[in-house]
């Protein structure tokens, strides 16, 4: 006869406990009651759903198949109203009675709603469940004024999520310090600055006295009398354990339902895990200790009572991209015998504080640099004597052997706190399934699929354990707009963003910097094939005046000389310009062109007009030139007309922008006189064919180009060039030269997606290139039609007589 096990609560703690029970021999018939209508999902990730980084489906932990496969009755949307301990039954809201032999209470917690007048108004929400999240998403839209009450972990994550949706968000916090339970005043200040730099307003200390509005909320009134307009209010003022069910049944309960070290309540048939549970006077709200409770209870309930839950030192990490915050242990420095060790660098935004007692680590706060969190957690848990580490305690030496850190961890150490995956589980999975990528590891173990903060550790483990670990590259553009290039391209396309300002206002810190602004300019130009709102202020000076700035603030002018071929007329005009503007140096460049150095900004339009030649784009991340040899026209050895092909290639691609500068070469025979094999793109003439080579370099690094394809006709060579060129434009990161790009992706992948792609896919690449080309124009035409009246003109002061004005 099977025993009836009833679990009240279908959240992360309860279901994770059931998962642990299933791993052991047991004799249970399991029923899970959940008051939400959803299967078990990862509540920690709701902020990512809010921010649009994950869908609701992606955060499901146990889908409905899991319940069926394991023979678990899932009673979703059913709330348990009471427990009759004498009859050993639970009674649901509709009067349904379910018998139990063993009962697990995993009722979790609810959002605490402070008793403020007006919290019942429309558009006042909490942020606790998937339904709450969906409700917020329905209201959220660009420009909506949102007030988030509460500056803790959840409040800040909700604020960022809504801000990414384009809302104008203000965080209102009762205390003087954000996340005051995890941070001290200084750490809170650093956090505040970071949050503000993302474009979120922070008001503290600010006590909300009332929410006003006629039916629907219009704003907040503070105790100080000030008011804040708000179309939407999100309350994230903390959580309350749902202990009522247990309390009413007569179980011992204080803040939560009281359990001993084996997760047993005062009733021998009833157990409790999760946020509703109180252990040694403490309740827990973070996921790692809750999973630990589940493991302990699984042992207890399956007849292996012995493993004890001994509590956990609190550890918290903020899940906002670009804002690194870690806090663990005790941060109370007023305790007797506690020493603090501190480091801060305001410009870098880094703050570290360690609390020590008797040379052991008691607590840690890390802001801006959380690289060493595992070392500190390890020291804290193991009570390591830090005497030998004291001199380097703020910057523990990074292990020269990258595997050492993970090697030093015991198998029982939790790597992924969100999903309760331990080091031993990961190592076992890697061996058992031959995993060699992070993606594979994620799929198999769920490690690093949630908040992603253990990604680094998972990669270290993979690197240490797997002989053929393949790293994934995913770098964020910049802390102003901390997303990867892939994400940014999607956001720009998906949200139809047409200007740098829009991107920064919605996804960034509203300011941008010299790193991200030019990169975003490029992405917008590429995504919209030139049909975007160009913002000159977001571009480097070279791209504002179409010349290359020199060390003395003057500019260099290099006209286009296609294929390195010129005429006596052009040379005469160049000589005349050099005389007329007293050009300090005329130089033949390595690209078969002529450089006029030392031109004043104000002279640029006149110089261009006098030259009567188009821009050579020598100042920008764009198509530079095609270097050629004389080929069949004059050379005794030439087998292909490299000069003509080079000029044609240059005409096809000139005036376009690229992730980094793009240089080409065409040679008429394999002697390679114009060095085509060390260019971003080269055509190497052979008898009856062309080799198209890509990813060559002869700059900071030297690299021989890879062969993309060999083709028979010049026309085919042009098409292959177009395909690679556009593919590089669309897929390289900004400032990634073609040689790094080719190495990163591998030439085989590039071949498959360009020259060996389906005709339809090739045509799409070519169409987008053609659209860009149709809108591209010679930048030097702005000499005649400047984009602003002072683009080149030196401003002259209106008059030289100062006017005296009395100051107040």
């Amino acid at each position: 006869m099977k025993q009836q096990l009833v679990v009240v609560g279908n959240g992360m703690a309860g279901v994770s406990c059931v998962e642990q029970i299933l791993k052991q021999p047991h004799n249970f018939d399991i029923t899970i009651f959940g008051d939400e209508t959803h299967v078990n999902y990862n509540r920690i990730l709701l902020s990512l759903v809010l921010a649009g980084e994950k869908s609701a489906e992606e955060i499901v932990i146990n889908d409905i198949d899991w319940y069926q496969t394991n023979g678990i009755r899932a009673r979703l949307g059913v709330k348990i109203a009471s427990i009759d301990r004498d009859k050993k039954v639970v009674i649901d809201e509709n009067g349904g009675v379910t018998e139990y032999d063993k009962l697990i209470l995993a009722t979790g917690s609810s959002a605490f709603i402070p008793p403020i007048p007006g919290v019942d108004k429309k558009n006042v929400h909490v942020f606790r469940t998937l339904d709450d999240t969906r409700a917020l998403l329905e209201i959220a839209q660009p420009g909506l004024k949102v007030a988030v009450i509460g500056g803790g972990l959840l409040g800040l994550e909700a604020a960022r999520g809504l801000q990414v949706r384009g809302c104008e968000v203000t965080v209102v916090h009762l205390m003087e310090t954000l996340m005051e339970r995890q941070l001290d005043a200084t750490g809170g200040d650093y956090l505040k600055r970071k949050i503000e730099s993302l474009g979120i307003r922070v008001m503290l200390p600010q006590q909300t006295a009332a929410l006003f509005g006629n039916g629907r909320v219009d704003g907040l009134r503070f105790a100080s009398g000030e008011e804040l307009e708000a179309d939407l209010v999100v309350i994230a003022a903390g959580i309350r354990p749902n202990a009522e069910l247990g309390r009413q049944a007569g179980l011992e309960a204080r803040r939560g339902i009281v359990v001993n070290d084996y997760m047993e309540t005062s009733d021998p048939h009833i157990y409790s895990v999760g946020e509703c549970t109180e252990h040694r006077g403490q309740t827990f709200g973070l996921v790692a200790p809750l999973f630990e409770q589940g493991r302990v209870l699984a042992s207890t309930i399956t007849g292996n009572r012995g493993t004890a839950f001994t509590g956990a030192s609190p550890a918290a990490k903020l899940k906002i991209m670009g804002v690194d915050i870690f806090s663990a242990g005790s941060i109370d420095e007023s305790l007797p015998g506690v020493e603090t060790v501190r480091y801060e660098d305001p410009s870098l935004g880094v703050y570290k504080k360690l609390l020590l007692k008797d040379n052991q680590l008691l607590g840690v706060i890390l802001v801006g640099d959380i690289e060493d969190e595992h070392t500190y957690m390890d020291w804290m848990r193991s009570g390591t004597d830090l005497t030998p580490h004291r001199r380097q305690i703020l910057f523990p030496p990074r292990e020269a052997d990258p595997g050492l850190e993970v090697a030093a961890m015991p198998d029982s150490d939790t790597i992924c706190g969100c999903n309760g995956v331990r080091k031993g589980d990961i190592v076992q999975a890697i061996h058992a399934h031959g995993i060699s990528t992070l993606a594979g590891l994620k799929e198999r173990t769920r490690a690093s699929t949630s908040c992603g903060t253990c990604t680094g550790l998972c990669e270290k483990l993979l690197r240490a354990v797997t002989p053929d670990f393949q790293e994934e590259t995913r770098t964020t553009l910049c802390s102003c707009v901390p997303f990867s290039y892939e994400q940014l391209r999607d956001m720009i396309r998906g949200q139809k963003l047409k200007s740098v300002e829009e991107v920064l206002n919605i996804y960034g810190n509203r300011k941008g910097c010299e790193v991200c602004k030019p990169a975003l300019s490029y992405l917008l130009d590429m995504v919209w094939c030139g049909d975007h709102e160009e913002d000159r202020s977001a571009r480097f000076i070279n791209d504002r005046v179409h010349a290359n700035i020199q060390k003395d603030g003057t500019f260099s002018v290099i006209p286009r000389m296609r294929g390195g071929v010129t005429t006596p007329d052009e040379l005469r005009r160049i000589a005349d310009v050099a005389d007329k503007y007293r050009v300090p140096m005329v130089k033949v460049t390595g690209s078969q062109r002529i450089d006029l150095l030392g031109i004043k900004k104000a002279d640029l339009p006149k110089v261009w007009a006098d030259l009567g030649m188009p821009s050579g784009q020598a100042y920008t991340k764009g198509v530079r030139m095609v270097k050629t040899c004389v080929g069949t026209e004059f050379c005794r050895f030439g087998v292909q007309d490299s000069t003509r092909a080079g000029i044609e290639l240059e005409r096809r691609l000139e005036n376009l922008f690229t992730p980094h500068k793009f240089k080409m070469g065409v040679v008429g025979c394999p002697r390679n006189c114009a060095e085509a094999t060390v260019k971003d793109l080269g055509l190497v003439g052979q008898d009856g064919s062309w080799q198209v080579v890509v990813g060559g370099a002869a700059g900071k690094s030297v690299r021989k180009a890879d062969l993309l394809i060999t083709v028979e006709t010049t026309e085919q060579a042009m098409e292959a060039s177009d395909l690679f060129f556009q593919y590089y434009r669309e897929n390289a990161n900004y400032l990634e030269r073609s040689y790094d790009f080719v190495e990163r992706l591998g030439i085989e992948k590039i071949r498959k997606e360009t020259v060996y792609a389906t005709e339809a896919d090739k045509q799409k690449l070519l169409d987008r290139l053609a659209r860009s080309k149709a809108l591209a124009k010679d930048a030097w035409l702005e000499g005649e039609a400047p984009v602003s009246p002072t683009q080149f003109v030196q401003i002259q002061p209106i008059q030289n007589q100062p006017r005296e004005v009395q100051t107040a």
Binding site: D345, R536, S537, F540, I549, D552, Q794, I795, R803
Partner: protein, 117 residues
Amino acid sequence: MNDVREWTPITKVENIPSREGRAVTVGAAEIAIFHLENRYLTIENKCPHRGGPLCDGIVSGTTVVCPLHGRRFDLESGMAVRASEPSCVATFPTRVEDGIIFVDLGGACQVAEETAA
């Protein structure tokens, strides 16, 4: 402290595009005027590092980045932003009246000079 400011009229507001800077030579002084959302800020147009034209830099919030080597200065205080590169540029009080930008060229920021010493 100056009781009287000598406001020199410089140029029309529309001559300085949003989030860009422009250089103006007034007598012996070369200044760079920047246009930030509805206000104008003026600093000396010379990076103390290698003399770069700050007017040509990219604006980031209330800072400008020198186009030559990336030194960053706060337009309000004139101070270098990175503590590792201590230096500063002079700032000049700036106001707008009837669409004309006025700069007090005598009012070079004293804080900046003291810090530079």
